[in-house]
């Protein structure tokens, strides 16, 4: 069985599962946020439940419209706060404890190799970078899990993406995933597992591995997954909140797709789909009004370090607003200690609190009609960051940081 099949089999209490089969699995972590959890709580009550199945396994994070952007959003957070209090939830993240959920949960050591997580947020697939099975669901599925501790799945087939060769200068995991989505399309891995492997994946930092799994959903995948290695276990060691039993996959996959990374240039996805990725050289002279560096895709400490390396001693172009969006309070703290925030502020950037707001046009950096942004986030759909006639281009951190200096999309070599 593949790693994904083994995890599903273990959580279904079965010796073997095969793709296409329906299974009901025990869930280790069930996640909701300030947008999806209020609906889940309503449904949870409709099911007739009074108590969540495990107060340590239901995790709520107020991260989307927080710090609350308006009265309705504040009321939703208040509603969750009261529910968390009466249910005595151990992991309720709010205020100065809250960060972007998909960076926060791994950082907090709440999700570990071979575990199973569902989240009422599509980017829950991020945790696959730890060798866990993690997938996005809706509020009703979350409610059912909150009540029963279980969730149903159709066992997915696995497509293995094998990354060979050598990375070009400045190319990161973000470029690899944008490139991959551009090759297979936004429904190229629908209902399937995207397994990322090969020597290049082994050489990537944990931050880059999270970035790649984070965007598996942008190809329609059920989950993204990477076999844990020494780096994974080292990363987890200081963070794990509970013991865990790893698994290793050994079964056949449905398809193997191989890429020679020596051929992969820095990628930029043009609107309105993440699959519209092109080499940065093809998009030179696209002028920008806003650049966003951060989010659940690229808001980790390594991302900020990379941005600071390019922005150090430079100034953001006068016609560009640069938003730096660190993902968690811990990352902000470390970025202050390392002097990264000083570099950003000296360059003329705006540093926002950890929040999903800018990525989905929620708040903090909404675009006006006709404006254009380059973002290290994950979606460039119509109206994603604001007005339906605004535009979002997607890239990795080096292109975004360099382009903020130039005021247009450029290759980082032009400013370093």
């Amino acid at each position: 069985m593949t790693l994904t099949e083994k995890i599903l089999a273990r959580h279904a209490g079965k010796k073997k599962v095969s793709s296409g089969e329906f299974v009901e699995c025990n869930v280790d972590i069930a996640l909701g946020n300030d947008i999806t959890a209020p609906l889940a709580v309503e449904k949870f009550r409709k099911i007739g439940s009074e108590q969540v199945f495990d107060r340590e396994k239901v995790v709520f994070v107020c991260d989307h419209f927080t710090p609350s952007k308006d009265i309705r959003s504040a009321s939703n957070c208040l509603f969750l706060r009261e529910f968390a209090r009466t249910q005595n939830l151990r992991y309720f993240y709010d205020g100065g404890k809250a960060g972007i959920e998909h960076v926060l949960l791994p950082e907090e050591g709440l999700i570990l190799p071979a575990e199973l997580a569902i989240g009422a947020d599509s980017h829950t697939c991020t945790y696959g970078a730890l060798g866990a099975f993690a997938t996005g669901v809706g509020s009703t599925d979350l409610a059912y899990t909150m009540a029963t501790g279980k969730c149903w799945f159709r066992v997915p087939s696995t497509v293995r993406f094998l990354y060979q060769g050598k990375l070009k200068k400045w190319v990161t995991g973000k470029d690899l995933i944008l490139y991959t989505i551009s090759r297979i399309g936004v429904d190229g891995a629908s209902y399937k597992t995207m397994e990322f492997s090969g020597p290049i994946i082994e050489s990537l930092s944990m931050a880059e591995r999270f970035t790649m799994c984070n965007m598996a959903i942008e190809a329609g995948a059920k989950n993204g997954i990477i076999e844990p290695d020494q780096l994974t276990y080292q990363w987890i060691e200081a963070r794990a909140k509970h013991p865990y039993e790893p698994l290793t996959g050994d079964g056949d996959v449905e398809e193997v797709i191989e890429y020679d990374c020596s051929q992969v240039d820095l990628q930029v996805s043009v609107p309105p789909l993440p699959s519209h990725a092109r080499a940065v050289e093809e998009l030179k002279d696209v002028t920008l009004d806003q650049v966003v560096i951060g989010s659940c895709t690229n808001g980790r400490l390594d991302d900020l370090r990379l941005a600071a390396k390019i922005l150090s001693g430079k100034k953001v172009h006068p016609s560009v607003r640069l938003l730096i969006l660190p993902a968690t309070p811990h990352i902000v703290y470390e970025a202050v200690k390392e002097g990264l925030i000083e570099i950003f502020l000296s360059a003329g950037a705006v540093v926002t609190p950890p929040s999903c707001g800018p990525c989905l046009g929620g708040h903090l950096g909404v675009l006006a009609k006709g404006e254009r942004a380059l973002a290290t986030t994950n979606r460039n759909f119509v109206g994603r960051m604001g007005h339906p006639e605004s535009e979002v281009y997607l890239s990795g951190v080096p292109v975004a940081a360099a382009s903020a200096i130039a005021g247009r999309i450029i290759h980082p070599d032009e400013v370093t």
């Binding site: 609906l39 009703t140 159709r154 936004v186 059920k222």
Partner: protein, 160 residues
């Protein structure tokens, strides 16, 4: 029996188009329905009559996990969504909340804007009354049919 006018859209209709994130602080389906599809078609909500049918291409509902999307569609008066394929989270959500969805590549390709369409879920058949054509629906696996017949996941869980 579902019978209504077809409203046709393209491929990759994502959840940001179905219900933009700026409305996600709303939880009341009636409030959400007012903004259904507005970034794609500002007139959407005004042209829908109760029982109408939304027809789309590939990968309908891709993107975010927001259940607000099928809730807004259901509350707008749309009785059924026909697409050649659905993105997986939207697919789950629609079944979970009891919004009828059917997969048919042929129906998705042949039905035109404004056609009168009839969907018989029991028989697994779509009738295009305007064009005098029939299209077969790909039947769902038994477990999903059980969820659909219960009216959604909440009802299924309550019956259990």
């Amino acid at each position: 029996m579902i019978k209504g006018k077809a409203h046709k859209y393209g491929d990759d209709i994502n959840t940001d188009l179905i219900i933009p994130a700026r409305y996600l602080n709303l939880t009341d389906p009636r409030a959400l329905a007012k903004h259904c599809m507005e970034d794609l078609d500002t007139n959407f909500i005004n042209k829908i009559s109760m029982g109408d049918i939304l027809v789309a291409g590939r990968n309908f509902g891709c993107g975010s996990s927001r259940e607000h999307a099928p809730l807004a569609i259901k509350e707008s008066g749309i009785a059924c969504v026909i697409a050649s394929s659905f993105a997986r989270i939207f697919f789950r959500n629609a079944i979970n909340i009891g919004l009828p969805i059917v997969e048919s590549a042929k129906a998705s390709a042949r039905i035109r804007e404004g056609d009168a369409v009839e969907v018989d879920l029991k028989k697994g058949l779509i009738k295009n009354i305007t064009r005098k054509e029939n299209y077969h629906i790909v039947p769902f696996p038994p477990f999903l049919q059980e969820l659909i017949q219960a009216g959604g996941l909440v009802e299924w869980a309550r019956n259990k």
